[in-house]
Amino acid sequence: MALVMLALVPATLFGLSQFGWPAIFLFTVTLGATLGFEALSLAAAGKPVRLTLMDGSALLTGWLLALTLPPWAPWWIGVVGGALAVLLGKQVFGGIGQNLFNPAMVARVALLISFPLEMTRWVAPAPLFTGDAPGFFEGLTITFGGQTLDALGFDAMSGASILGHVRTELGQGEVLNAALTGVFDPFSALLGTVPGSLGETSALLIALGGLWLIYKGVIDWRIPAALLGTVAVLATGMHLIDPGHYAGAPYHLLTGSIMLAAFFIATDPVTSPVSRAGQLVFGAGVGLLVYVIRTWGGYPEGVAFAVLLMNAATPMLDHYLKPRIYGRDRRGQPLEYPQPEATAATAKPGEGRQ
């Protein structure tokens, strides 16, 4: 758990510097709220609070949730999100290891449905200490002030994320190229100097953190590979069929929280299958659903829904895709005994046994 968080540090720091004080406040509030609700529910259940908090799972949940929120969202989004993640996502199932769904994604989806306005208000990055960036006190008003960004005079900076923008434009009959012009530049998407949530921005840093985790043996390569591979294949295929409507693989792989999902969210051990085959199917399933939701569904970003849907399929995947037991075939029947005597007898009649 500690290594996972360490792997998130570069992307998080970069994101925080991109979105400045409001993002830092929201991040802190979200983590604090998640830990607070975890401690409360542990105490209410009579479980050891300090010891369990030390396992870091609540902290990681809060962290991942914070990374998927709009960076300038008001403070109560973080608090409500933390509560939803801990209570609805985890404790109702009986605590760590028992939850069926990824708690951070449960919270994100619940927030998105309940507060669509706050949850889709993105801002362009304004790196700390640059001219456009809000100062410390301005940041406080943005996060805690309870007023809309427009009222605060930051409307110029608010805008849709790339995915949202493209979806709207396409919906208005624009062709893809026009829709992408000026908003999607693979290079800045890779680096992360684009609007979006904290963790959506720098695909590069997220991916590097993820690869490091694979190298360290903390996560398995199967889920990320299957997930990204599926998205890449689908995107490339559809792009070849109709380049006017379907964006290519770089667009899909570099925008939104797909990297975060591939390396940090879908790989959550508790809510993903335990067999290697199951993990491949799980990763591919998330990839497929993300692509389908993004391309034809009602939301610009489908990662959270895709992960939750595949979480629901995990018990079934675990049931049907167990490893083969030694000495048995895939269906669990004992292997056939080789029958050397019988074959010898039929192969060399008359010679008998040797």
Partner: protein, 512 residues
């Protein structure tokens, strides 16, 4: 496709799972085998093998000589037990077993007389290869030899498998994959020729023409020694195995060496292979060439809590305490005492329990070595799934066992678990998975026995009711018969009386 060593039969075959524990062999690997001095008393249990316990044939106060049979084998799967030295039988009773339960078991107690005199009938054969295979097996059985890697299955029964299976290969399990243990390593290094001789005698008894000796790469001296000795025997190949636990699991070893997988619930004999251990081979050599039964074995006494770790040749029945004392006692209070290896060994209940034919190690581990931690909840990390050499899903099985759903655990493959402990070794939550499985298997076995007992009791009860019923019927029949007889008697008497009366009447009439 593993190309991890020189192999006469082509490359080794990869198997799934397994772990790489720190082997800790250096503690004892450099120590030559030393003879443990005869202790003051030997406690020799009657049950040292799988199968029926041996049946004592000595009396209290009887004088015995070294190598003399003191308990006979009982039944087809059993092994006789011999006097490890000359002396007097001083007890035939109960003594704590070398078993985690520490329960008392039937034990012969022998007081050595210090002369260590062999029984005069102990004699070997000139040329074991001139004997019939069945005769070799008979001698192995008479010598009380059992699988000395810890399985303690009577070896002769395995040698006789040739009668029911078509065998082609004898595999010698020199993997010694358990960390810490070095007794097989030392035996192969110091008694190379004898081990090889025993191996070849066993191959002769099995009627197989191919012998593969597998030794893990962490025992380069043993590998070199066995290779050199085997060079002049074309049928023997010595193969370097990758160092990985549980390489020494019989079925996995056979698959690594031959590429063939043993069917579930089958024996390696089903695919034509029989596996024996180097220590067993050494015992076979001694039994055939010298006529000596299995009365001592090499035991590794090690662990960081042992002052001077050693490999000792120990008479069967010696108390563990004597071994520890000979190694200079404990250098610090051990956190854990184990009989066998750290992965599959059993906790030692106390130090006065005896060494048995299958005891290959005595470990005294410090708190730092055991690394025991309080278990945390499972986070489904799947490490155990990746480590299981049998393709099981330990976390699911454990969940079933924990809720008492043993049938569910069996559905998940509990009976295919070899209890190797790889899953528990890798579990980051320190869940004692293998303990769950061993416990569940014990529970199931107990249930099976209880059920058997129940049916047996039921059968007996039914038989009893039937018997009582039959008796009642017989009684009733007898009574009826008696009544009928009485009635007949009465009728007869009546008839007589009537006749007499008639006669009187007639007489009277005549008289009138």
């Amino acid at each position: 496709m593993n190309v991890l060593g020189f192999n006469l039969f082509g490359e080794l075959h990869g198997i799934r799972g397994g772990v790489h524990p720190d082997d800790r062999k250096s503690l004892a690997a450099g120590q030559p085998i030393e003879d443990l001095p005869l202790p003051g008393l030997l406690h020799i249990p009657l049950q040292q093998h799988i199968g029926a316990a041996a049946n004592p044939v000595v009396q209290r106060r009887q004088q015995v000589r070294k190598g003399e049979v003191i308990a006979h084998a009982q039944g087809a799967v059993s092994a006789p037990i011999h006097a490890p030295t000359s002396g007097r039988i001083v007890g035939l009773g109960l003594y704590p077993a070398n078993h985690p339960s520490g329960l008392n078991v039937r034990t012969i107690t022998l007081q050595p007389d210090g002369e260590d005199r062999w029984h005069p009938d102990i004699r070997g054969v000139e040329d074991p290869f001139a004997l019939e295979p069945a005769e070799v097996a008979k001698r192995v059985a008479a010598a009380g030899i059992v699988g000395m890697g810890g399985a303690t299955f009577p070896s002769a029964v395995k040698l006789n498998l040739r009668n029911r299976y078509s065998l082609h290969t004898l595999v010698i399990n020199g993997a010694e994959c358990e960390p810490y243990l070095t007794c097989d390593d030392r035996l192969m290094r110091e008694h190379t020729a004898q081990v090889l001789d025993g191996v070849r005698i066993m191959a002769h008894a099995l009627g197989v023409s191919r012998i593969i000796i597998g030794i893990e790469g962490n025992k380069p001296e043993a590998l070199a020694a066995m290779r050199e000795a085997a060079a002049e025997h074309a049928e023997v190949s010595v193969v370097k195995l990758p160092t990985r636990y549980p390489m020494g699991s019989e079925k996995h070893l056979v698959q690594t060496l031959t590429g063939k997988e043993t069917p579930a619930r089958g024996l390696t004999a089903d695919i034509g292979v029989v596996v024996h251990n180097p220590a067993t081979a050494f015992a076979v050599h001694e039994a055939l060439r010298l006529g000596r039964p299995l009365i001592s074995r090499v035991v590794t006494v090690t662990g960081q809590a042992v002052a001077q770790p050693k490999n000792l040749r120990v008479p069967i029945g010696t108390r563990v305490q004597a071994l520890v004392d000979h190694c200079g006692g404990f250098s610090e209070e051990p956190a854990k005492l184990i009989s066998g290896g750290p992965m599959m060994g059993q906790p030692l209940a106390e130090l006065r329990v005896p060494i048995m034919k299958g005891s290959n190690g005595v470990l005294a581990l410090t708190p730092a070595e055991t690394g025991q931690r309080a278990p945390a909840p499972c986070i489904r990390c799947a490490s155990c799934v990746g480590a299981c050499p049998c393709g099981l899903v330990p976390l699911t099985m454990a969940a079933h066992v924990r809720t008492g759903d043993l049938d569910g655990a069996v559905d998940q493959g509990l009976m295919d678990c070899i209890g190797c402990g790889s899953c528990a070794y890798v579990c980051p939550a320190h869940i004692p998975l293998v303990q769950f499985f061993n416990h569940a298997k014990g529970e199931l076995a107990a249930r099976g026995r209880a059920k058997q007992k129940q049916t047996e009791t039921k059968r007996l009860a039914e038989a009893r009711t039937a018997r009582i019923e039959a008796q009642k019927q017989a009684k009733r029949a007898a009574m009826a018969k008696r009544k009928a007889e009485q009635a007949a008697q009465k009728a007869k008497e009546q008839a007589k009386e009537q006749a007499a009366a008639k006669a009187d009447h007639v007489e009277a009439a005549e008289a009138n």
